[in-house]
């Protein structure tokens, strides 16, 4: 069933004189991390199914600078930001969807002051719009009766107050959505943010991702859903460490929707 994906780049569009509706900012994890690439493809399938005219930057894309900025390297961040902004403005990009809350936050909030003004949405928000406008449909799929819990990525939830879009999508699945004790504004971090993803944890008695995974597993869900490739890594590692990977899957909301829509 694996159909070849059609993924136009901005450069190709420009050459053909086409103007895409939206730029899909894939992000470094979505481009290089094996698990996250599967999410990227799920997003592409949804966009294709909904006949969204999208394009990616492909090899021209570069890190938004988020991990550098959170780690205090404002220089590197701004170098990245300004180079990216030049590129994006060169393509006259107006609207961007990201597959990662960190790219989403950075592009949406931190680029405008440096000259990059775009409408930026997270993929869960775009998918919600596509469902609401009937451009794609899901039938509840094979999730009926399954227990799903949603882990709020910090930069989607607290960082940008997007709590409902992912939940609205999960609501379409006719599965049982259960909330962890700490959710929404009170959600607990997965442990990856602030550039922690790229370093060893400081001295402690527990890793943050274990604390969070334990909380999720208390609910005995079949699926832990999230909307961030870094949360994905952290929670998957946690579930594996707890030897629960047979019983509990960690999936991105986009993957759930793609599955439910048979994509």
């Amino acid at each position: 069933m694996e159909k070849e994906l059609v993924v136009p780049t901005m450069a190709e569009c420009l050459a053909k004189g086409e103007v895409p509706e939206i730029l899909f900012w894939v992000g470094c994890a979505g481009s290089f991390d094996d698990r996250a690439k599967i999410i990227t493809k799920a997003i592409v399938r949804i966009l294709t199914k909904a006949e969204v005219k999208f394009a990616v930057l492909g090899t021209e894309e570069s890190c938004t600078g988020d991990p550098a900025k959170r780690a205090g390297n404002e220089f590197l961040f701004q170098m990245q930001a300004m180079t990216n902004i030049q590129l994006l403005n060169g393509y006259e990009v107006k609207k961007i969807v990201t597959g990662c809350p960190h790219c989403f936050n950075t592009l949406k909030n931190e680029y405008p002051e440096l000259g990059g003004n775009f409408e930026v949405i997270h993929h869960t928000q775009l998918i919600q719009q596509l469902l609401d406008s009937g451009r794609i449909k899901v039938e509840g799929g094979n999730f009926s009766g399954k227990k799903i819990t949603f882990h709020d990525p910090c930069y989607l939830g607290r960082g940008n107050d997007v709590y409902e879009a992912p939940r609205a999508l999960l609501g379409k699945l006719d599965a049982a959505l259960v909330e962890m004790k700490r959710s929404r504004a009170n959600g607990l971090c997965c442990g990856a943010g602030g550039a922690q993803m790229f370093k060893e944890a400081e001295k402690d008695n527990k890793e943050v991702n274990i604390e969070r995974t334990e909380e999720a597993l208390e609910l005995q869900p079949q699926v832990i859903a999230t909307g961030c490739p870094f949360c994905m890594t952290m929670l998957r590692d946690g579930v594996k460490l707890k030897e629960q990977d047979q019983a509990t899957e960690v999936l991105d909301v986009a993957e759930l929707i793609a599955k439910a829509a048979d994509l």
Partner: protein, 455 residues
């Protein structure tokens, strides 16, 4: 009261206010050690936010028990100030219960003061129990050892003692007034009659002014009018002198939040929490690097540090946050780093910032405005290990009842470590290098960015 009393009262009051103003002024000066920062946008929204979060305590009740008890104490504090005003007028002019002319409304006021005083006592007692008997986890952290823990105990017990003095004073006064004009004041059969009409005749004090709470204390008081008179006077003096003393305690204490909570919320961050500040000094340099023909902005100011090493490198808002922090620990108890046993505690970040400001301030008091020492906020107060434990998750800013932002301080200090000291953990330096060279935090070639399409 004779005129000597009035004079003593006036001198003590003026002295108390003067000393308080002097210390408050020092705090203001310390806050202004910080960098200038213009926060004058969205004034309407700011007033609304202040009404909701500071005056309306909307974030306090996220934790209902502490929230509701705090509302008791907070309302008590605000409403009882009306009573303090009466005491001050009485003290200056030698009157007794000058506001009693308000009639029915006065009874209502007195009744509400008394109920609030009771609730304050109750609230503070439960707060003490939570801290010192139940030992709630967030009050047991290391950063509270020593003075901060005593500070909390002093505040709570003082409030209980002051409110008790107020109630005993009323009780004594109530009995005396039921005897007639013994306390040298104004009491008044017609008031007594009105009180009886409004409130019924449940208590002895109903025959005097109506004191709904303190009436229950009258049984413990002697019936001798002279003794009663002295009890009333002693409590009166104790209550008001206690308040003046407490006022002067506040600038030395975390209790300063009762004043600064309001401006702190007013000037709080209105942008999405995920947005970090943009360092303009860096923007200028980066522009020059990307476009050598750009003209550097002319400025007489010394080149700004990148990031913050010490409190003067932080903004006045960040410094005001530190003076407003009441060390409740909600931030720390929700901090993922702290929960998993790491050294970082956002509350400690705020406490350290204040302690360092106080230290610098004392130095300035002694040695003049140009004082500097060899210490700094980074290193001497806050260690790199603490700073590198933060996941920038914003749980702390979300939990703070008055929108204090410890995260912004953490980031400014990280910026200093990275950009001025080149002192980041090795793994992060590797990540920086990858971004610089390959445009990704990992070692992948940019040419492979689209490979996923065909995998």
């Amino acid at each position: 009261m004779n005129w000597i009393d009035n004079l003593i009262f006036c001198v003590l009051l003026a002295g108390g206010i003067y000393w308080f103003a002097r210390n408050a002024q020092k705090i203001r000066r310390n806050i202004l050690l910080g960098r200038a920062l213009d926060i004058s946008d969205n004034l309407n929204e700011r007033w609304k936010l202040m009404a909701k979060v500071a005056i309306g305590q909307s974030k306090m009740v996220v934790r209902p028990v502490a929230g509701i008890l705090h509302i008791f104490v907070y309302l008590g504090f605000i409403i009882i100030n009306i009573e303090v005003l009466e005491i001050i007028i009485d003290g200056i002019f030698g009157t007794h219960r000058i506001f009693a002319f308000m009639g029915y409304f006065y009874y209502l006021l007195i009744a509400s003061f008394e109920f609030l005083a009771l609730l304050v006592i109750l609230g503070c007692a439960i707060f003490l129990i939570r801290r010192y008997v139940l030992k709630l986890k967030r009050f047991m952290n290391k950063e509270l050892e020593g003075w901060p823990r005593n500070d909390a105990a002093i505040i709570l017990t003082t409030e209980i003692v002051l409110m008790s003095a107020f109630l005993i004073m009323n009780a004594a006064d109530g009995v005396m007034m039921s005897y007639g004009k013994l306390s040298g004041g104004i009491l008044l059969p017609e008031f007594a009659e009105a009180a009886t009409k409004i409130f019924g005749e449940q208590s002895q004090a109903g025959k005097g002014l109506y004191f709904p709470v303190s009436a229950y204390l009258t049984g413990f008081l002697p019936s001798n009018p002279i003794a009663l008179h002295y009890i009333e006077r002693v409590c009166w003096w104790f209550h008001i002198l206690g308040i003046i003393a407490f006022l002067n305690y506040i600038p030395y204490s975390k209790h300063f939040h009762i004043l600064l909570a309001f401006p702190t919320v007013f000037y709080s961050n209105l942008k999405p929490k995920g947005k970090f500040s943009n360092l303009e000094s860096v923007t200028n340099e980066v522009k020059l690097m990307l476009d050598p023909s750009a003209v550097p902005p002319v400025s007489d100011a010394p080149p700004a540090k990148f990031g913050a090493k010490d409190v003067p490198d932080l903004s006045w808002k960040q410094l005001m946050d530190a003076y407003s922090c009441t060390e409740c620990g909600r931030c720390t108890s929700n901090c993922p780093a702290n929960q998993t046993g790491k050294l970082l505690s956002p509350r400690k970040i705020m406490m350290d910032t204040r302690d360092r400001m106080e230290e610098l301030g004392k130095g300035i008091d002694k040695n003049g405005v140009n004082y500097s020492d060899s210490k700094a906020l980074v290193g001497d107060y806050i260690t790199a290990e603490e700073l590198w434990a933060c996941t920038t998750c914003n749980a702390c800013t979300e939990s703070c009842p008055i929108n204090i932002d410890p995260l912004s301080i953490i980031i400014d200090l990280r910026r200093y470590l990275v950009m001025e000291q080149s002192d980041a953990p090795a793994a992060l330096n590797a990540m920086f290098t990858n971004i610089e060279n390959n445009g990704a935090p990992w070692q992948f070639s940019p040419a492979d960015r689209l490979n996923w399409k065909n995998e």
